[in-house]
Symmetry: C2
Subunit: 242 residues, 2 copies
């Protein structure tokens, strides 16, 4: 795929030519298939057609390979979130929700990265590079929260952006961890993880006083509603009312 080397071993000489990358790709596939815990250094070597000792020329040990993958994962994650956020276009709230969806999409489409990043038991905080990458990714959520906080309706206390960001992160991560993995679908759900998260975020934002009615430019349904039962309750975030 990447180079001219594909065949098991006969086709290539003594040197692989692209082993580091081949190992990363192999590991990615293995982790996606058998989980971060089940992945094996030896397997990756076998898959790349080299001896079990060869990987040690490129990674100090199995953990370093895992870290490299987590590193790349955070970078791709950051890129994806950046794209989803799109600097808050077309409007802050819907861009914010897109970020949540992107989080889930990443967990589903890149289970290997997600595993390495969040479920491998790697000591994230012991590796400065990794830590930095992780914080850059979180920074996107934080920046989005910052923009959203600035839009808080007047008259209400302004929520701390950092707190909002942490809340959104925990919601996204919770849904992704519990329900979001494509292949090994962990638990049965009455709705898609995406819908579940979207409703959760909408309710949360409404709790902060943000207008969250989905239809174009509707009023602030929850917050500014005059007292008295509304004649027709607006559609809640969970669809049509009972």
């Amino acid at each position: 795929m990447s180079w001219r080397k594909e065949r098991g071993r006969a086709e290539r000489g003594y040197h692989h030519g692209n082993l580091k990358e081949a190992l990363l790709q192999a590991a990615l596939g293995l982790i996606a298939e058998k989980g971060a815990a089940g992945f094996t250094f030896a397997d990756a070597a076998r898959m790349a057609g080299v001896s079990p000792a060869a990987p040690y020329r490129h990674f100090r040990d199995r953990d370093e390979l895992l870290s490299s993958i987590a590193q790349r994962g955070f970078e791709q994650f950051e890129a994806l979130l950046t794209q989803a956020w799109d600097d808050g276009r077309p409007d802050t709230v819907s861009a914010f929700e897109r970020v949540g969806k992107a989080y889930l999409a990443f967990a589903r489409n890149e289970p290997a990265f997600y595993s390495a990043m969040f479920e491998s038991g790697l000591p994230v905080d012991s590796n400065p590079t990794l830590m930095a990458a992780s914080e850059r990714a979180f920074g996107i959520i934080r920046a989005a929260a910052e923009r959203l906080a600035a839009l808080a309706p007047p008259g209400t206390p302004r929520p701390p952006a950092m707190m909002m960001a942490l809340h959104i992160w925990s919601m996204s991560h919770g849904v992704a961890s519990l329900f979001g993995r494509g292949d090994a679908a962990r638990r049965k759900l009455p709705m898609s993880p995406e819908d579940l998260l979207e409703a959760e975020v909408l309710i949360y934002l409404r709790g902060l006083g943000f207008p969250t009615d989905r239809r174009p430019a509707a009023k602030d349904a929850a917050n500014a509603k005059p007292s008295g039962p509304p004649p027709v309750p607006p559609a809640g975030p969970w669809g049509t009312p009972k």
Copy 2:
């Protein structure tokens, strides 16, 4: 402690007398110390003072031991949540929040159980017994959500209890996974995980239209309050307004 057998090996005869339990305890300690992935069948045997083959008389393999621990974990988890919920006393909202706190407390105080239950990569859905235990635990959250949903302010669409339960679960799990582990504190936080989760749940409930003012022991009678905008509490869930 449990039996008369404690000393390494000289003190006991050929038969251990309580090996199954000893293995479970040893595994619990090892998992707490080195994570579910790092735990070793052989280590547990060593710690119990038996040969590496002995555990196989009590568990089909390493995974079955892990499952047993997860099983017990879910049972203790259910008991803890049940106690925290306390059938909704003294009022539904505060009991609901206690459940969230209990979730975090469990993750922090029982890292080994939590690991086995949620981070070991066990195929929960492939083991009916385990699945059932897991669902009983979730059932507590669901029951609480049911009661809460019944109190939804009139005039607003009633939120599906199942959805609320899933939301609360994902928030709790998200916070616990990302920030909640005692020993290996993963990331720096500007506030405690407990406070973070409490604020998150309060904002969420407010988004559903529930009164969430903290101080004046809001009894459930509050739901008889004439409808109107959510009371825009004088103090937000995140403390004193700016």
